[in-house]
């Protein structure tokens, strides 16, 4: 299909793929982050995401700049460094009908913002949280981040003096209801995972390895294109079918696991490892540890739990967003204040 033919095609809400685009990217040429932005655009277009039903949220860093480059019709908020989770939580409680699409980096999430990340996971708002993980501080020119592997040297040959944080393991341990990992260069896997994340009713965490072409893409780096290609372990291939589509996905019986999501859409996992079940917490934890010990990177949908209550459910938020409640509902009456005063006279 040619570019122009793609541009003219409209989705179920009458938008073209271009409508999901944003400002021109200012990332370095070849940056993994641009591939992720493209995947977000493609996923949003395929799903027919309505621009006014989501809000883009990000922190500070190269990754956090990218929301300007996709979904240009959608409200966005570029928060302070490491504080995106709290801004997203605030927006969510004010209007839980708006789904935050959070984009962060490994510095933003694993270092300065790890506290807020941890507590966001505990709360489980309906939200997509993508970490564009390159193991390096790009905007400040190449310092290590907390996800840099011990054996992964910087461009100048230095090794990290501290061990890495595996965000997927951390999220899983904290009870994250959707844990996935992918690679920015693997659109075939990344796009359906983002689509599934949009449909998940809870916090969907996506750790996307995204090589930094300027500071962390040399052969010795464990976040480089070459390292990833050599060390990636797929436990399944992923196909996402939105609830409004009726596409029969052909898989051989016995090798496909279907994960129905709350909105009726389905995630088909074609198993490469027949024993892997992403609803099995123990198996997921083991798989993450095992692959890490083997210096491999596990990708795909690692864990999903559809039974975890969302933060809106836990807080018993009303159907009408808090932000839309009127004065009549919000301000107690004059009589109530009279009663209050009277009760404080004894």
């Amino acid at each position: 299909m040619s570019e122009s033919a793609t541009a003219q095609k409209t989705n179920r809400v009458g938008l073209t793929k271009e409508d999901y685009g944003g400002a021109p990217s200012t990332m370095c040429k070849g940056c993994g982050h641009d591939r992720i932005s493209e995947a977000v655009i493609q996923a949003a277009f395929h799903l027919g995401v309505e621009s006014h039903r989501i809000v883009k949220m990000s922190g500070i860093g190269c990754s956090s700049k990218t929301p300007a480059y996709f979904l240009g019709r959608t409200f966005g908020l570029n928060a302070t460094h490491g504080r995106m989770p709290s801004f997203a939580t605030g927006s969510y409680v004010a209007n839980s009908a708006l789904m935050p699409l959070g984009v962060s980096g490994d510095g933003d999430t694993a270092s300065i913002g790890i506290g807020q990340f941890v507590h966001l996971v505990r709360r489980n708002p309906k939200m997509v949280y993508i970490v564009e993980n390159n193991g390096v501080y790009g905007l400040t020119k190449g310092q290590f981040s907390a996800t840099a592997d011990r054996e992964s040297p910087s461009k100048r040959g230095a090794l990290p003096s501290e061990g890495p944080i595996d965000l997927c393991s951390l999220a899983l341990d904290l009870g994250c209801s959707f844990v996935a990992r992918s690679f920015s260069g693997d659109k075939k896997q990344l796009v359906p995972l983002i689509e599934a994340a949009f449909s998940h009713n809870g916090l969907a965490f996506l750790d996307v390895i995204s090589p930094c072409v300027t500071f962390n893409n040399h052969d010795e780096s464990t976040k480089s294109y070459t390292y990833h290609k050599d060390h990636e372990v797929h436990y399944h291939d992923v196909t996402f079918v939105p609830h409004f589509e009726h596409i029969d996905v052909e898989y051989e019986p016995g090798s496909v696991q279907t994960v129905p999501l709350h909105d009726g859409s389905k995630l088909h996992l074609k198993k490469l490892d027949a024993a892997y079940d992403p609803t099995d917490f123990q198996r997921a934890a083991h798989a993450l540890r095992e692959t890490r010990a083997n210096r491999q990177i596990l990708t795909g949908l690692i864990y999903i739990n559809k039974g975890t209550p969302t933060f809106a459910e836990t807080l018993k938020l009303p159907a009408t967003p808090l932000a839309s409640l009127d004065e009549k509902t919000l301000r107690p009456s004059r009589e109530a204040l009279d009663k209050f005063n009277a009760a404080h006279r004894v």
């Binding site: 506290g115 807020q116 009303p318 004894v346």
Partner: protein, 595 residues
Amino acid sequence: MSKSVVNDFTLNIATPNGTGSQTSNTIIFRALYHMGIAAAAKNLFPSNIQGLPTWFSIRVSAGGWQARAEQCEILLTLNPATWNQDIANHPRGGVIVDNTDYKIPESRFEGYVRYSVPFESLALKHLRDAKLRPKLKNLIYVGVVAQLFGIEEESVQATIRAMFANKQELFDVNWEACKIGIDYAKENLKKQDPYRFARANQTAGKILIDGNDACGLGAVYGGCTAFTWYPITPASSLGEAVIEFFRKYRTEKDGTRNYAVVQAEDELAAIGMVLGAGWAGARAATSTSGPGISLMGENFGYGYYAEIPAVVFDVQRVGPSTGLPTRTQQSDLLLVAFHSHGDTSFPMLIPANAAECFEFAWRAFDVADRYQTPVVVMSDLDLGMNTWVSEPLVYPDRPFDRGKILTPEKLAQLEKWGRYKDVDGDGIPYRSIAGRTQDSRFSYFTRGSGHDENAVYSESDQVYARNLDRLARKIRGTVQVLPEPVLAGKGNAEVGIIAFGSTDHAVREALAANETAADYLRLRAYPFHDSVGEFIAGHDRVVVIEQNQQGQMAQLLRMALPEHAPKIESITYYGGLPLSAAFVARALNGTLAKV
């Protein structure tokens, strides 16, 4: 016995923290209220849950003054750890009620009127239930005080009933314990001192409330729906009050909550959530104290620059650092006024009493929405945590002002909307809110980095400077809606006094007793109203009285009104105790004596 002293003395009760003495102290204070006496209660407590010393002073005065008295006439020394110091500090000629069981040497009571009560023995003898005994034994001193100094039994009973929600069983056990003290005093103690309480008419219409409860209720009346907070003394009870009032006033019959409370992981997250919720169109607030304000710094600047409404309650305590967490001060003024890096300015509303806590709390939401910026209500520990005899809370006199929120109709009127465009010349732009419409012309990208009128990233020097100037103009405009200062006096005295917040009580009391005729202007907000400059201009000498070392309000005044700077003098107290009228009078006389 000398001539009796009626309703003009102070009772100081020393007990160990966490032993239930708070309930007993409250019963005495509230029973006095029941008798029509507007007592002033100051709880001097440690940063500790159990064991460290605490003092509760109850002051009664002809004027019903609410400020702290520096000395007490009657000391109840019921803490084995502090009696030595308590007695040493107690002025000779005063009254001491002591615990016989502590076996304090007789010689220590020379020159005092002593009432010795074997509290432990009485408790062991009369309170048979060993489980309840620790809780009830403090009621015995309530009875002793009531009998010795004339708190009417009817008032004690009514107070116990009210405090225990009219539950007969609870009333019975508490009253019985209280009666042990009454009976002991009747039979064993002969009145030798002149002090007594008598029915008065100081409380008509007034209520009993602390500032934190009043702020909490004000937030609910102000339409707050998202309250995100991190516990910290002395602001914790404000957060708890909001939760209580949300439950009471905002819960639907089916359990649906028209509110959200998030106990955040820290103050950075608390303010982040407030800004996120404010950005998405809710009225949101947080409560904290100095250390929390410090942590919120970066996001204060974000709120200022990205123009997001937020309400913050700062219940000030003693800094720097952890400081004295359970002592009071007015020392966050400079911090808040220019919080965060870069050029910023934050409006402050400064209540002086519980009624204003309520009023300024709901008004703060209007200011924040109208000016799209973080706004801080500056309370303090004395105001927030002590119970005051206050004017009743007054129902808001105006509907919500949600400010310039862009509607489809307004969008159609505006030739070209830009999120940060100054359409009306007041520096306040129109804001659109996510989720309110499907029209993508409404949407924009909010950022803390440089941006132009259309919210597009910009590093242009001119765009940046223009934006910053508009922001400064916008914040200056808040004086139009912030509470105006209050003037006491004719305005033509030689000396002008300026004070603000909870010290108002001590200042008014000192001025009422002082022969020096001075005008008194009570500030209620920052930035300063024009009348503040006029007040200073109209007086030969101006003295600013405040509770911090650096004279922070005086500094703010000198900065805002440099032409008057040389004549602004400072009186400061920063020891952490609530200000007393005696201190103000001494300091004022000292300052004015200098030429």
